[in-house]
């Protein structure tokens, strides 16, 4: 069985108090942020790595980005990917349609029984990419998958709905799933493992090699600006001795109908 996992490199903003919108008003200030693999994609990779451990799965990790994005593919290789391909194109400012056009064109060139995406990205978070690629490939999909079990020619999945409800499907392969966090527990990737992955081949392709033209990648949605939300009501900081602050907090929670 052939599994393809699409991964993305995102800025890790966890160490900062706040994100800063840059001068273009169309992106955040990235210079002070370190990069990492998109959280959701790590779960997708772990799901694929676990499938590989169970049975004869060939696992390919793919991404679209400039050369510094190789590091997320190295991580994928260290997690168990047999092959990694990067389409060398900076598409940070591109819309989901353009990126999914590239990914669909790439996946079409690869054997694929199961295509996995993270359910969304940590930066722009549209949650559209996987679903759009499935439509372009003309294969069934399920989004927000919280469990999966591959059978003969099909995959059984649970999707997460509101209030913890689950929706279960049996989907014929080939299929595309977007993976929700919590579906598994992604393994730790040691620095030694990443170093060993540095020795593995990483294939680079261009959009033209995929037969794509600038017209085909023309944006359908244009980002106009980013802005921080307007400041809401000021938070109340309760200070004083614990017995007084606790009493005050209980009062607030009672008045709000929470207690």
């Amino acid at each position: 069985m052939d599994v393809v996992v699409c991964v993305k490199r995102v800025p890790d903003a966890s160490g900062m108090d706040a994100l800063v919108i840059d001068a273009s008003r169309k992106d955040i200030e990235r210079r002070t942020l370190v990069a990492k693999i998109n959280d959701w994609d790590e779960y997708a990779l772990e799901a694929a790595a676990q499938l590989k451990e169970k049975a004869g799965v060939s696992l390919t990790a793919v991404t679209v980005g400039p050369d510094e994005w190789d590091d997320v593919l190295r991580r994928a290789l260290a997690m168990g990917a047999d092959r990694a391909i990067r389409v060398d194109e900076d598409m940070l400012a591109a819309d989901c349609h353009a990126v999914s056009t590239v990914l669909a064109a790439l996946v079409r060139t690869l054997p694929h029984d199961l295509v996995l995406f993270g359910a969304q990205s940590e930066d722009f978070g549209s949650g559209q990419l996987g679903v759009m690629v499935a439509e372009m490939l003309g294969i069934p999909h399920a989004a927000l998958v919280v469990s999966l079990e591959v059978g003969e020619g099909s995959v059984r999945v649970d999707r997460e709905l509101e209030a913890g409800a689950l929706e279960s499907y049996a989907i014929e392969l080939p299929a595309l799933l977007t993976i929700q966090t919590g579906v598994n527990r992604p393994r730790y990737i040691s620095v030694g493992g990443i170093r060993r992955a540095m020795k593995k081949d990483l294939q680079i392709m261009s959009v033209s090699e995929l037969g794509l033209t600038a017209e085909m990648l023309a944006p359908q949605a244009v980002l106009e600006r980013l802005e921080t939300p307007p400041r809401g009501k000021e938070a109340e900081l309760i200070s004083g001795p614990p017995e007084e602050t606790a009493e005050r907090l209980v009062g607030i929670l009672r008045n709000a109908g929470i207690l």
Partner: protein, 393 residues
């Protein structure tokens, strides 16, 4: 890796679980392995961990998150090494660290350990706070950036980011300035020392950190390092030489001792209190330094130094080593080592529990609050007591 490939394959079976690893030096109880004292199960003692490791590597038991947690509750305090009567005792902790290293290689570490290591790899500290903020603790102080001064004052992750430990870091800076010591810090250029990474079994990440620090220190021409944390001191003194780190390392209590003896630090202002001193594992058992902090405290007029029953090589660990100050596998109980330790401190009648490690500071101060001892027992760093005695508090 199978048992046959394990570095200690010809040795690990020799532990027959005599149980000595749980005792303190004076045999007063069986509570000196912090994890055993917390959970009261043989599996959490060093001997138990060795048996579990052997069973895991022989495929007699499967890996589980619980198995990993049992191994990672080890604080690397070395009480077991101190007490193990057998000839291989110098390697019993190494055997646990090697088992952790195998878990790291297989990606099978507990989630909290994964987070700890990933944060250090990305941000240079376990908290995941930005590198750019590492130097914020110096704001408002007169502490200078290192530019060839006699000493590099290396603060470490806890001193750089933990609010309480930052106070200690600034206080020590004032004491060093008062003593006329020429020193500077790296601020946001400082990186994690890697000591905990090493005890967690992430060898390649430790190498990366050690190489980065050694390269940086060489570029800056550093010849002497004074460390706030015994963890940093241990890594730099004992591990960095294999990465060609040729500078001389001091724990700050050793420098303060020398300054007091050399009459460069005047502590005649005194500090009137009954003080009990808690030996940090990475200063005491790991590096045999029991006297420098005591010498500093005894030299301060008004300090009445009283010892806890468990002291020096028999001291009970605060429970923060081996990354546990962050992963907190030993917390959440009155049997947590930090809470046990502050009860032992309180039993001496001392009003001040002196520490010489920012990890111990955060662990024990939290424990004092959990035990409701805030009115009778204050946790102070040795540097803070010195600062009070020399008028720079």
């Amino acid at each position: 890796m199978t048992l046959a490939d394990y570095k200690y394959a010809d040795m690990i079976h020799r532990c027959f679980r005599c149980g000595y690893c749980k005792f303190p030096v004076n045999w007063m109880d069986v509570n000196s392995c912090p994890a055993y004292a917390r959970f009261r199960m043989e599996t959490y003692s060093c001997g138990g961990r060795l048996w579990l490791t052997r069973a895991w590597l022989s495929d007699e038991i499967e890996w589980t998150e619980h198995l990993a947690q049992i191994l990672y509750t080890c604080t690397a305090c070395k009480n077991c090494e101190e007490k193990c009567p057998l000839s291989f005792n110098v390697d019993i902790l190494n055997m646990i660290v090697a088992a952790k290293a195998e878990m790291v290689e297989r990606g099978l570490v507990p989630s909290a350990v994964k987070e700890f290591l990933e944060n250090i790899e990305r941000h240079g500290n376990p908290y995941g706070t930005a590198r750019a903020r590492r130097g914020e603790w110096t704001e408002g102080s007169e502490i200078e950036q290192y530019q060839g001064q006699e000493f590099l004052y290396y603060v470490g992750c806890v001193g750089s980011y933990d609010t309480r430990a930052q106070e200690t870091a600034r206080t020590l800076g004032r004491v060093l300035t008062r003593s006329g010591v020429s020193f500077g810090v790296l601020g946001s250029e400082e990186n994690c020392d890697g000591n905990e990474v090493n005890t967690l079994g992430e060898e390649a990440l430790f190498e990366m950190l050690a190489e980065d620090n050694v390269r940086k220190f060489k570029e800056l021409g550093v010849t002497r390092v004074v460390a706030l944390s015994p963890h940093s001191y241990n890594a730099m003194k004992n591990e960095y030489p294999r990465f060609d780190g040729t500078f001389t390392s001091f724990h700050y209590t050793q420098l303060l001792r020398d300054l007091i003896i050399g009459e460069k630090l005047d502590v005649s202002g005194g500090f009137s209190a009954s003080v009990t001193y808690h030996d940090p594992c990475f200063l005491g058992r790991w590096n045999g330094e029991y006297e420098a902090p005591r010498r500093v405290l005894r030299s301060i007029p008004g300090v009445e130094l009283v010892e806890m029953e468990k002291n020096r090589a028999g001291a009970l660990c605060c429970g923060g080593g081996g990354g546990n100050f962050y992963t907190d596998f030993l917390g959440g109980s009155e049997s947590s080592p930090a809470r046990t330790r502050v009860r032992e401190a309180s039993a001496t009648g001392a009003s001040v529990l002196a520490v010489a490690c920012p990890n111990c500071m955060t662990m024990l101060e939290d424990a004092v609050k959990a035990e409701g001892l805030e009115d009778s027992l204050a946790v102070k760093d040795v540097a803070e007591i010195v600062a009070a005695a020399c008028g720079t508090a």
